[in-house]
Symmetry: C2
Subunit: 195 residues, 2 copies
């Protein structure tokens, strides 16, 4: 990271990430980002046309990082249950390590023109598709069977979002394990009188 930050573009992105997360979009000025990054006002415009472009670049970076980490983690797992666990774990780890990222997404989405897809949307679809493909693989290797893959993936990942955002911290060690276990087998423990 420190070697990367000798690059002006990365310095700008690092400063912008912090400023965008703590201020309203229209309160952040390109000049302030330049000052905080220790680069000249001319330099910042050489890399980014305007704030929208900076924002999009930040989210693109984070998105690439998340997908790389997830794909790497999934590759090492044999069972589909474990694949789901590491998808969840990798996402929680990244968001916990980058507490600004959630706000950044929220801001980007709210500021976005409703007609244009905002920069994080593709990442969402990618993760949803990955989860669906794990479901399909589980079916093929007869590990487990999910009736409505699309809807179930939405429910699992929407639930994950709520945990990332509002869940207890520090995270319990077995959190992702338990979420996936309960997702597959039910959140209700069987009671003798349950029907």
């Amino acid at each position: 990271m420190s070697t990367k930050l000798s690059n002006p573009q990365d310095k700008i992105l690092a400063s912008a990430e912090i400023m965008f997360a703590s201020k309203r979009f229209h309160e952040v000025r390109m000049e302030d980002i330049a000052i905080s990054a220790g680069v000249g006002k001319g330099t910042i415009y050489r890399y980014f046309k305007d704030k929208e472009e900076l924002y999009a670049a930040l989210l693109k970076d984070a998105s690439k990082e998340l997908m790389n980490l997830i794909e790497k983690a999934v590759k090492f797992e044999v069972s589909c249950k474990n694949k789901l666990i590491v998808i969840l774990q990798t996402s929680i780890n990244l968001f916990d390590a980058k507490p600004h990222l959630f706000d950044l997404i929220l801001h980007a989405e709210a500021f976005q023109n409703t007609l244009v897809e905002f920069p994080w949307q593709q990442t969402r679809w990618n993760v949803i598709q990955l989860v669906e493909s794990v479901f399909q693989q589980a079916e093929e290797q007869k590990e487990f069977s999910i009736q409505n893959p699309k809807e179930s993936a939405l429910l699992l990942l929407g639930g994950l979002r709520a945990i990332i955002r509002f869940g207890h911290k520090p995270r319990q060690k077995e959190l992702c394990n338990e979420i996936v276990h309960h997702f597959l087998n039910g959140f209700s423990k069987s009671l003798p009188s349950a029907n």
Copy 2:
């Protein structure tokens, strides 16, 4: 609704709701809301000090409506499983009937100063608490038993959010029934070789 809208305050709120949902916050002018509501510029300021106050009022109205509808629906159900189903169904119905509401929440949250709780947050906690209290009641009447009520409520409601936002429309008739069924009993159908 039509009798309600003879009131200038309600006319202003109805116009503001549509404008805030389709434009960026700083692009919406109080004057334009006044024109669209058919009231004078002075009138709008008699009711709302500024845009923030208007926004907060809109979300407070929607929040009150959602909680009223949910509480009414829950009261008529005996089984806790059905209580969960109607909580989900009522939420989906309201958001589907008010397609602007989701954007409004998203905008309000993004524009909010991070130190102040934004107007929809209390509604979130209220619904989470209601779901937790249904879990507790289910335990008491030995209907089903949820191990981690707080975390499970977050997962169920986070999943619901994803379905409201990205789920297939028109909604399947049995959608909420199926979500709750799978939430309680697992999204995986048992396979003979499953372990």
